[in-house]
Subunit: 346 residues, 2 copies
């Protein structure tokens, strides 16, 4: 019997860019169809996409790299790819069956044929919102977990600063730091986000960096004794100001530098002499290297979620047609919390 | 009986500076005298200075700092201080006796009264040149030892780059890396130094950075597969070029950044996004934190020195009157090897 063929709306990447990305760098295509069956003898998995993740790293996929980058470049004319939550419709792979809920790399389309299903993870706990697997229980959560606990090597009572603090990763780092007994300050780009940091996520203090004419002075106000740990999400001028305020043996976990992604040339950072003067460690990391920690992370965080010690704010765009704007919004700071796109609720 | 009183020639620091230091920022004073005895009931030690060390960190002592720096500011009108090798003339301290050879912080003068002799180390091995305790067996040697073996965490076969490679620390880092079975390239500022790196210290390759119009291209020539370890002594443009050439999980030990010390504003480093893209660790360190490793270091390196596996090149200025020029020469790259000053041979 021939498989049912369904319409398959998708968002396609148009062409490589420089500078700031635009919605028109992506195109909604409504004319495609997809058979709801994996090809004969294939080990692929056919999934229905439910939630898609918008992540800052995707900007790197939109530029052409001569040498392989840390993430693969998108292919012009092909569907955008990102992490997402999906439901298995048909499977040629022994580890997956129709009806399974999974998260992992998928396409910005209604149905995706995943040819390397080894990259997918089966969803174990469904007593939390499924969308959490795009963020809190997905890549962002694991990023915050390894970035804070492993790279920052925190100790109780230390002074912690988080930039882009209400974002997918930052809001968790702040909560982890509070659970560990640290003093935590976050920066964000609107008063609404600052309010969230203080009143929802429990940061000790927070400030709107757009209202500060002197970042060094702002940091000195909140950290009169200096910063032990900086969880770096933005780069540029903020990093320069942080370096001036680090304490001896301070640690900087370089998770990302979103303020720099759309510049022709990244800003210069002038205060690196503090690395030796204050014996500072700056360590960059990629969550893709820590996949082996995922199960440990989920088991550790589930009780914190269930018992309300960890909360999570999501910013949800409805429908694939709104996905390009949601992604571009990340670079304008329009999202409040983890940005995701709902393709279908089940 | 009254103590003999001796003339005590000294080099005095004149006043705090900005920008490039000059010989005239220091002054030779020949009119002082010193009694060759420690004051009654004092635990001080009176030493005769033999060899004095010229080190790049001393530039920081020549500027006024509002907050305490990682090294104390010099005091205008007072003698310049640095590490040196000295002979005890008189001692009020139970750990030291007349005739002992010591190394540690002393003054740029013929005789110094050391009021905190706990900071001095007794010299254990005298079957090597005593001047080695200003460098190879002093602070520079320990710096290279902890910087390379601890901060860089090297593995056999890794690709190592050292800047200011013929200097007091760099020449040792290169030799340590070769002993460990690494591939080592050094940069220096003259063809004479490049020759030394290749033919005396056994670097695999070396280049004169002043002859390279494109540091990135130079590094790509010597490291087609990238750099695992960068021992950072210079900062600025070289660090920026190195970041572009680091391999995944590369390590940068920030020992110093001499190219930046005399600038009004340090240069901007633009390529810090590689820290997360390549999962690079940049770690600054100060040798003063590793004093507890000194005995281990000396026991480990003495056989290497005696059996010729480690060699050391010194650049020796004769007499206190030549000390200011020797120090200034460091910042012009005039020294070939470890710069020191001979005050007296015994």
């Amino acid at each position: 019997m021939a498989a049912a063929v369904m319409p398959n709306k998708k968002v396609v990447f148009k062409n490589y860019i420089t500078g700031f990305p635009k919605e028109t760098d992506m195109e909604l295509v409504t004319s495609d169809t997809v058979p709801l069956k994996v090809p004969e003898k294939s080990t692929a998995v056919l999934v229905k996409n439910l939630y898609l993740s918008c992540d800052p790293y995707m900007r790197f996929c939109m530029s052409k790299h001569e040498e392989p980058s840390f993430v693969p470049d998108f292919i012009p004319g092909s569907v955008i790819t990102s992490f997402g939550v999906s439901k298995v419709v048909d499977s040629g792979h022994p580890d997956f069956s129709a009806g399974d809920l999974v998260w992992g790399l998928t396409g910005w389309e209604e149905y995706s044929l995943i040819t390397n299903p080894e990259s997918l993870s089966k969803i174990k706990y469904t007593d939390v919102p499924l969308s959490y697997y795009t963020g809190l229980l997905g890549m962002a959560g694991l990023t915050a977990y390894v970035g804070f606990y492993e790279i920052c090597a925190p100790k109780k009572g230390e002074y912690v600063f988080v930039s882009a603090a209400s974002g997918a990763v930052g809001q968790l780092v702040g909560q982890f730091a509070k659970l560990m007994g640290c003093y935590v300050v976050g920066s964000a780009g609107s008063d609404e986000k600052v309010n969230l940091l203080k009143n929802k996520f429990g940061f000790d203090e927070a400030f709107n960096y757009k209202k500060e004419s002197d970042l060094n002075a702002a940091l000195k106000r909140y950290f009169p004794d200096g910063i032990d740990i900086y969880f770096e999400n933005v780069g540029g001028a903020m990093l320069d100001a942080v370096l001036m305020n680090m304490r001896i043996h301070g640690r900087i976990a370089a998770c990302g530098m979103i303020s720099q992604y759309n510049l022709e040339k990244p800003e210069g950072v002038h205060n690196l002499m503090y690395t030796f003067m204050k014996q500072i460690r700056i360590e960059g990391f990629l969550v893709s290297y820590y996949h082996h920690k995922y199960d440990e992370f989920v088991e550790k965080i589930m009780p914190d979620i269930r018992e309300g010690r960890i909360t999570y704010v999501e910013d949800t765009a409805e429908g694939l047609e709104n996905a390009p704007a949601a992604l571009i919004g990340l670079f304008k700071g329009l999202n409040v919390g983890k940005q995701l796109v709902v393709v279908a609720h089940e």
